[in-house]
Symmetry: D2
Subunit: 396 residues, 4 copies
């Protein structure tokens, strides 16, 4: 395939590459050792919408904002009209709806896996409320991370909890409206340190199958064992028609929630390559590309814009791969040729192409520079400073 | 449950705890850097049967010998009568049949996943031959490790290879006789270093489901990512009715093939505990407990006897757990109490009980000591020394 | 060595096995996702001393309490008299003094490694204050964890920061009084996720050497890479005469701060074995055995008593090893014999011996049971409940 | 710094970037499961020199060939004249001299760490012979990998072995001639699976210090724990003036010996960046850049040429970094700016620059293409085919 044709394809595919950003990405977060509070961090839902709108204005790529039920809609469905008002005001739509199954003190020994049936019921009700919120807001996806697990061998019955999970997920699934989806996330550890009830993609896939046809798997790129091959998992989920979407971030050790591609950019490229290799285009139309990052060090807005730009660059590189040529080398087991075919795209500098693409769409060529020159950062720091300085956070 | 009743239960369950040992466990093996040749290593199938018979005579727990098609039956089904003769001679039965999909030079880019259809066909034929061998020998299990994978990103199509695997496994499954099983093993890496086609339990489970009702998953305890919770995987496979059996060994880093429980005995105990917690006893009747260890340093026979004794001790400890009490603590989320209930069994010294159990069965109380005093080690070293010294092995 | 002599040795060595517990182990802590607040958690220094005294009364093994400068002596040296009063009141002495280099907002980009010289100076002053506190309280050890690091490649100059650290540590060292020690801890990651300035034992040892003869290395058992051999590091630090002490806890994945020996008891046993193998008894007289655990799930007091009992059991097992016999097997490269010699001690049930040892010292045979029956847990929950319930904690 | 000046700097620094390739990189190697024999693999020292000369002719960057004593000079010093003849014939010089401490059957329980003094002495003699060979060939470096270790807890005395190692290394060091160096390699595991006597950089650095001023540390990029920060180790070794050189290769899991930068190119770039950030240019003049890769799948010659080209590209990218600008951002703790400054160089496509650089030196612009068109591959396959086909290799 000629390089000009490939550049043309990149331009087209970039237009469809829509990224969802999370409301909690604008709030003050940290590690268990504390939070480094940012003067400009968002503290209200309105501020989160305002920040998201700023990112979308600069990148043109983030039309939706993921919402966290407990933090953004504490009153549940009753808060939906407030969200709708902000959607109208800021021009950013409500994205996936994220229930919270870890913050309540009653969830100490689990939420929908808790051995106490009353607590399980309470957690299920929260899931059903989340589905209702999603319906009210026209959100397609309920994005579910079950943090349940245990810290010590013997502490809990792993077997019983599988069954409790199956029941809860099916109930939630059955409450979904037409066109809605339940995305099931997996994570090997943290906050639980001996066993986590949905620990890997294999468990998530089994649960999705059990829950029903509208349930899919959500891949958080930071939720894997050291050295696990994430693009292979993506290939499997595509094969099984179970790939619901991504929570993108990067990591070196655990679930470090760093900027996408900041530690291992080649891996993100390979994930995009695996998706773009799917022959059935319809199969990947609904894949949700979401960011899940918590920046303790980088300024929130800068980090978010940098994230979107990085994601676009790595996606563009993957889009450049000459897949016909690659398939031919693979068929002939020409290892070096196939590898170099893939790398040829990775090493191509796509930044000029992206600047051009942005310019033609009336966007700033360099969104990060534009953010810094916009005065927006100074404005929000001025406005939010006093409130943010008063927060307290301590390890012990 | 009273401690005497628990001791009684241990005695009963130990009687059913049958361990299969591998023919290749008696042969000279090593690392890629070379083999430290043992004077007494077995070089012929007859020697392997003789050694296995010795282990069984000392422990009373290893009535079957796993066979490797390429090394033990190089002529395929035609060699079956030779095996039957040895079975008759040594009183040890043929156990699981292990095909070999990695030794042939044509498998450089894969066997049943090779992009070349002719090579895939050849590999499938080897699998079908293995099924026939199993039928001829009355072996229940064909135990399949597919070492296929690739070393570099882009080198192979992960997606295509999933489909080739599905086809091959179904063909193999459909050739099985009544009562036979196909056990599908997974392994994250080695000998392939970028992607392995059956890399984790999730993939193995999907393949088993696809292949058919006589396909199950084989758990090699050394084939996991660092920090992965193996007993949770066992719980899942029990839940899915897909647990076919185990290849036991221990490891600290990679697939180190060390003696069971030599690095992390608590983990082996927890695996047995998970199995013994299964309420449907029929569901675990067919779980195959097999050893897969390659000893480069320890004397082969000593290592095998030590392995059997260690496995019995850890199994006995797991059998001691007061499961009624434990379930009650788990239901009440009494973390410390539940943990201590489990550990109470782990810390109990079961060695006197095992000595007693052996004595009542006419077995030596200390099988390792009995082996050393038997003269068998000296005998085989004398007989096999010259042959073994002539082997050569080099890294480059 | 005869088993009776070995039991005698255990009894003697147990008497010298003194464990320091941390004041923060009684306070409410959690993960970045929140804290499960405990009604009986200590909120004041007086409560921490009271709880520590309770643990010591039950076990007779924890005469000192590690103090955290920022949380326990917020006014610095000026708070020393308050501590002395509590020491007098509760009969538990002040243990190691722990500076805090992570909680202040100015430490966002590092404390004694911060590129801003003024912030480095402030951090050094805190270290010097900590030394003064230690002097005022008669504490031998200043126990230093430097959490500094960076989250992204390029963000900081690794080289510059090595030099800044060297300078700061030497200044701190030179302020020590006679007989005082500076213990330097290492940790691979968290809260920094790209590089941590003191990431492994090799760096800590180099810093200790540079700082001066009163600087030593502190081994936190949870601060290692997956599969790293901790007992080998202990052997090295003994060899280099740099082993200062331990922060004990267990983990499966990251720095999980679980109960000692709860995940891998065999490893703790091997660490004790390595220490007890030291031929120069004077060399290990000053090794500090400290607990560093943060219990989010287990009740604080129960966890601490369970920890002390577990540590004693594993220490007693290591003390039981027949080291003369073992050395002989090692010299002859008798692998199986040497391994079994070590395991013989590990599998011996030392609980009866410990119950006997406690009884003879006028301690409860089962300290955990005694704690539960003491009424102390109910008392502190009653007294502290209202205060603890009012705390708030949230991820975002 | 202006981009043109940076491009100028790249061109200069590339000229000094000399890469040593290993003789064993042209021979048939594999995994413990077998070797996929290559028709064109080198089987004699003459063939290895011929292949190395071909790589040098195509890249102009590999003037020396690392030699392995046991495989390349089996008669020891007596073989030196044979090597000198080949050097004269092929125009490639003898590079580092690599002793072998693992192949001899007597090294089963260790070489210079063996509890048997006679075996230790034999191993030391081999090291002293290697030093003599290096002198005879004018080789600067003796490059030492000690594979010693143990497979089971208790099997060996870790402490005793530290002392034996110290003695052996000092003896070897003291035999070095003026200007010669002893490079000490570390590796966490394989072929030993419980403990390896030189397991990490900290141990290697201590041994180098003990051995003497001509001893340095050798960093094999594949010999680290999962997630360890290699560039930080490089920074430390530069700081300590102990960085002797590299064995480059890439890996995902263990010591996989894949092509440099094939799995994580960003990490290789960061390592080069750390070296090029050294302000004292003299300090890095002697850093040895060596390749240590064993290709089982890729054609040996292709892999070697691809390796050299990849190394040059990643080195050129690192050379492009605007270090003045970066230092300024680091001093101001501008995280995003500093990171983007580093990435700007990484994402620059340096391939045109390298093609230009090669052309001006009379080298083929695309060495891999030139190799394929040269007819050399077909020639050696024709000549060596029959010999190579007769080799046998088997796991058990």
């Amino acid at each position: 395939m000629h390089i000009d044709d490939r550049f043309q394809r990149v331009t087209e595919q970039l237009g469809d590459f829509v990224i969802e950003i999370p409301s909690w990405g604008f709030a003050n977060t940290g590690t268990r050792f504390g939070k480094y509070l940012q003067a400009g961090a968002a503290g209200t839902l309105e501020e989160k919408f305002a920040d998201a709108a700023q990112v979308h204005a600069l990148t043109g790529a983030t039309p939706t904002l993921a919402l966290h039920v407990l933090w953004d809609l504490p009153a549940g469905v009753a808060d939906a009209h407030r969200v709708e008002h902000l959607v109208g005001q800021f021009g950013v739509r409500a994205g996936s709806i994220n229930p919270n199954l870890f913050q309540d003190q009653e969830y100490k020994f689990g939420s929908i896996c808790n051995p106490d049936g009353a607590i399980r019921r309470k957690a299920i009700d929260h899931l059903l409320d989340s589905v209702e919120i999603a319906k009210a807001l026209g959100s397609r996806d309920v994005s579910l991370w079950v943090s349940d697990g245990s810290n010590y061998p013997g502490a809990q019955s792993i077997r019983n909890r599988i069954e409790w999970l199956e029941g809860s997920l099916r109930l939630t699934h059955d409450a979904l409206g037409e066109g809605q989806r339940l995305l099931i996330e997996y994570k090997p550890f943290e906050p639980a340190f001996y066993h986590t009830d949905i620990a890997d993609w294999g468990m998530a896939a089994q649960f999705a199958r059990f829950a029903g046809p509208q349930a899919f798997v959500l891949v958080d790129t930071g939720h894997h064992y050291q050295s696990q091959n994430i693009e292979q998992i993506v290939a499997w989920l595509l094969h099984l028609r179970l790939l619901g979407g991504f929570h993108f971030n990067d990591r070196r050790y655990a679930d470090d929630d760093l900027t996408i591609g900041s530690i291992d950019p080649y891996q993100v490229f390979r994930i995009f390559h695996e998706i773009l290799s799917e022959k059935n285009r319809a199969a990947i139309r609904d894949v949700a590309y979401m960011i899940d990052q918590s920046h303790n060090i980088k300024t929130k807005l800068e980090a978010m814009v940098q994230t979107v730009v990085s994601a676009q660059e790595l996606f563009a590189k993957a889009s450049l791969v000459d897949r016909e040529q690659l398939a031919s080398f693979q068929a002939d087991a020409k290892t070096v040729e196939a590898e170099e075919c893939l790398r040829e795209a990775f090493w191509t500098d796509v930044r000029p192409l992206l600047r051009d693409w942005r310019e033609r769409r009336g966007l700033p060529q360099d969104p990060l520079k534009a953010l810094r020159e916009s005065g927006y950062l100074e404005k929000i720091e001025r406005e939010r400073k006093a409130r943010n300085a008063s927060l307290s956070t301590s390890y012990a």
